[in-house]
Symmetry: D3
Subunit: 238 residues, 6 copies
């Protein structure tokens, strides 16, 4: 039995349930995916501040997972918060959803568009695209200006995101779309059908990437940069 933890680094449990369902729908036989909600931190991640403050809760979840012998992890926020630190802590592979989604979309055509929630998060997405070598495939970043938690509650959200995707591929001349928020995972099938090009959701893409790595026995290299961090006594917050 392969065990994958899908960590939602915000504290909103409803969102964890949604993405857990999406991940389970694609996981292979003999693979158990568990959605894990961060114990503390921001209810949604919509700024560099939110992202930075989400990382300790995420890392605490990774520590719990290591104690439990988990095989691999997905970080389910499109900013891929804490990815490097998580790779130091975990023995198995750790994949961010932006990482997985962009790599996946690069297999489907010459270029893709990213459609995300708030425009202020685009800088981070651009930075990740560069880090992963995916800038050459990213033809544009587009924001719907829908707050993350409204994706589930706003009845117009699905339509707005769909239209943003449609405009993005026209404007950018793209072959595919990457959804730029874990909260859009359950919209993926609908949008694909509506706009007629491949639409990539990072939650499922990352789950299958972790599953594949575990199947091949591949894990983060511990040869240098990602070796376990030196043990230290930290000063706790008062």
């Amino acid at each position: 039995m392969t065990r994958i933890w899908l960590i939602n680094p915000n504290t909103t449990r409803a969102m964890t349930s949604t993405i857990e369902a999406c991940a389970r729908a694609v996981a292979g036989a003999g693979v158990q995916v568990v959605g894990v909600t961060s114990d503390f931190g921001p209810p949604s991640i919509e700024s560099h501040y939110d992202e930075a403050m989400s990382v300790p809760g995420l890392l605490a979840a990774i520590r719990r997972g290591e104690d439990a012998g988990v095989d691999g992890y997905v970080i389910a926020c499109f900013g891929d918060p804490g990815l490097d630190a998580a790779r130091e802590l975990a023995a198995g592979p750790v994949i961010g959803i932006a990482e997985a989604a962009m790599h996946t979309a690069s297999h489907l055509g010459r270029g893709f568009s990213v459609v995300t929630t708030l425009g202020r998060t685009i800088g981070r997405a651009e930075e990740l695209a560069e880090r992963y070598g995916m800038s050459r495939f990213c033809r544009g970043f587009h924001a719907c200006e829908i707050p993350v938690l409204d994706l589930e509650t706003d009845p117009t959200a699905l339509k707005l995101v769909t239209e943003a995707c449609r405009e993005a591929i026209e404007q950018d001349g793209s072959d595919a779309v990457v959804l730029g928020c874990a909260g859009m995972a359950d919209m993926c099938a609908h949008i694909t059908e509506e706009i007629g090009v491949p639409v990539v959701d990072g939650v499922t893409a990352a789950t299958l990437t972790v599953q594949s790595l575990v199947t091949m026995g591949l894990r983060t290299s511990k040869r240098g940069e990602y070796a376990a961090p030196p043990a230290k006594v930290y000063v706790e917050k008062a």
Copy 2:
């Protein structure tokens, strides 16, 4: 049942058998992987000329696969020959083994080394790394100067490739190794054990990438560049 064809674009059937076994060892439940040998062309691919001349045979195999309703394809030569043309022909996803191996290795650390057969193929590997956005992860390309078909017959080959991998990570300061030839697929486990860093074989990586794409319902975008090629009457070779 998902059907994946693993196309060996050279005409050497023994090599097809070897890589088919490697791919089947990782394929998920409900996934059938079939090794397909090119009907005509070079017995091994060790030059730009060999590579160019392998493409028509490869594309003929893709056409047969389409007639048979195959779900996705792996191109099992590290030069990823004919990838763009294959994507035009196939309805489902097509992945090259250099493509899959490099992407996979990028998830495992800051940088990897590529270890391949002949030095004269390194130019092509560099070009592919750039195309896939993986140059930033590739820290070096190393040749063993073992001809492709000797990998299976030369009793010293395994040791030579293993030592080349060991030297490569030292010299490049790499976290992982990418094996630069389909013919090295069955050496992967041994080398990993010997050198203690993740070693990535493109045959298994590409098989699982195709499997994941099919699971997610993702295929090459047909919106523009990769639409089916315009039908034409070709002049046949006399």
Copy 3:
């Protein structure tokens, strides 16, 4: 006497005649340019599939040229098909028309626009621009959506291409235009006159590049990657 073969990698002899005339008009004294039509393959090259399938016919022509002691070759299709393989086979220099046109245009200003036939070929042109180091000069790629063979037969083609060139330089703020198809070679003078900026045709540019290389005694380096390919027995197509 310097002998240059201008190889048309499609099988349409009328196109060979046109470009041969363009090349002869610029060739120096003592230089004989012969247009050579591919013996088999696609009648025009408008997809990755066409391009891949044109390469064996092109390489057969190079082989014939080597037997005849030809001094250098032009590959007269803007996708520069088979360039690397041709360099392995030929003793003398081999230049693609996209290669020559882009390099030439880079001498004439800060940036140029490429105007080509079908939009689906732009991905390949972008890839070539990157390969040749010319991306920094390419400000845009524009398609007329005129099929290659219609360039000679469609009475509105000249006007449409001219207008596409005019719009391209406006939109991109370019200093010059590169014509993105061998079939546009005979339009070059007219368009230059109409739009008032330098317009570069790759057929003539490549012919003169080969002529210059031969004059200087420069040929493809045979030190490594482009050495003659290893001799092998190929399986012939049944």
Copy 4:
């Protein structure tokens, strides 16, 4: 009176004292520099994990600074932790010491070498060089393998760092050296004298960069990405 806070994002007060002295030695008339030690987190930053865990303490210090009406901030760790989040929180400019050191060194020659503490931090330094556009000036990253806190206590540290700097410029052909740790700030003058090329310490460079920005009335743009983060109720750590 301009007030600059020099935030040490680790919890070791002795280090704060040292760097505060270095910064005060260069600050202009009418500029008050105050060293601020993080209230909680790691005693030194030597891994991605340490760095991630230092950010909440750093951001708490920024919040206190904002309440106190501080004009600008230096983040005094060569990983520039939390820089983006700090820019969202602060009204005035925030500069990291890697950022300031690399920019400064770029004014002094064609290329510089970075000499840092542990090799495992080099990946982060490379990433920062790229982010700041400084990769083209960075000719090499070199580690002394001295833990951060040993810089002050190990009597051989100064000599080891000096020799590492000397070797770095020889090996890289560099014009200058960037010291890759706040804890090396007080070594700068000695090393400069010993090796005869400019040696840049980020603590002083960042202090003067902030001072200059405040003098010019320049602050982080609040137009988009760096606007104050949306207010939210966070779940506190149990």
Copy 5:
């Protein structure tokens, strides 16, 4: 007493006076800034030709400064003419205003726009952005098409430049503006107020950069490329 020469490489003294005042307004206590007008050359710099012809006069001024023991220099033209040669001649630091402005703007947000005088100078500005590693921050270059010397005399100039800045940030989605001409230095405060994002003037930015370098005891490295040029007998112009 630190002495900085602010060299105007054109021969228009009124412009020197204006920029000297701007620089003096930001210089620290104990820093004397002197505006120096080139003795010969073009009255304004609006072409590559003007720029090239301004360099001998600029270098003559640097020679005079060295005789006078000047501590550092600003080259006050946005083309940063003669920067490398000046660095060879001068013992202290030399900074161009494009260099300083772009570096400074990179500290204030994710991207900036450059607003300059004539469109024909944009090619040079792009080249400088690349040289300094600042291309990744430059989102667009915009010209007002106001000749340099009209900036002071044309009563509509301030309004036109302000509107160009406003449009630039909208069009580019920028966080800040860089003024692309020394002659715009005294417009900076007004434009900042009007458009509500940080506006960077290179004259003040470069003055403070030089001041900071002198404070830190940092000067151009004389280790290799920027060593004093070999002494030679030149042929004088007849």
Copy 6:
């Protein structure tokens, strides 16, 4: 009759004679190449200062050429001094020898090495390689540390340069060599014979590039950046 001026931007007439002979040896029928020595400036170009000070003399020669109706120009110094300004002044094409040599070498293999005179000029050569898009082909820059004028007088120079070329291709794994100084033009044939890879001399390469451009009727675009510079009254040097 096509007339090409080969401008030596230093004042050493003996060097002009040598390179004129090299250029004439390759020029086509009906092409007259005239070597022109700069009237004033440095006797050789070995620093940024020399280069900057050579430009006015070079531009004066271009002006004389324009009055004489010259068809195109070569700038015969490997720093390509004054290239942009010359393009503004001249109606016909202007090519630098570094530009032509690097482009030419890119046609001959995957990568080349540059072998030049003094190490301090390498920074400039790197900058030019980037400008021309040729960095991806440049695998290394190597200096012989022979002053420019000693190339003709030092009896060991030919041997030293030859050995530097031999070592360069070994060290860099290059396919070809670019000679980094006009003063090496007459060494080209000898070195080629000795080391067995293509060796490119920029003087002949640039002459043939200009000849080709003139043959095709191509000249610098006057649409924007390279339009004739605005006429102005300059202050003459006292």
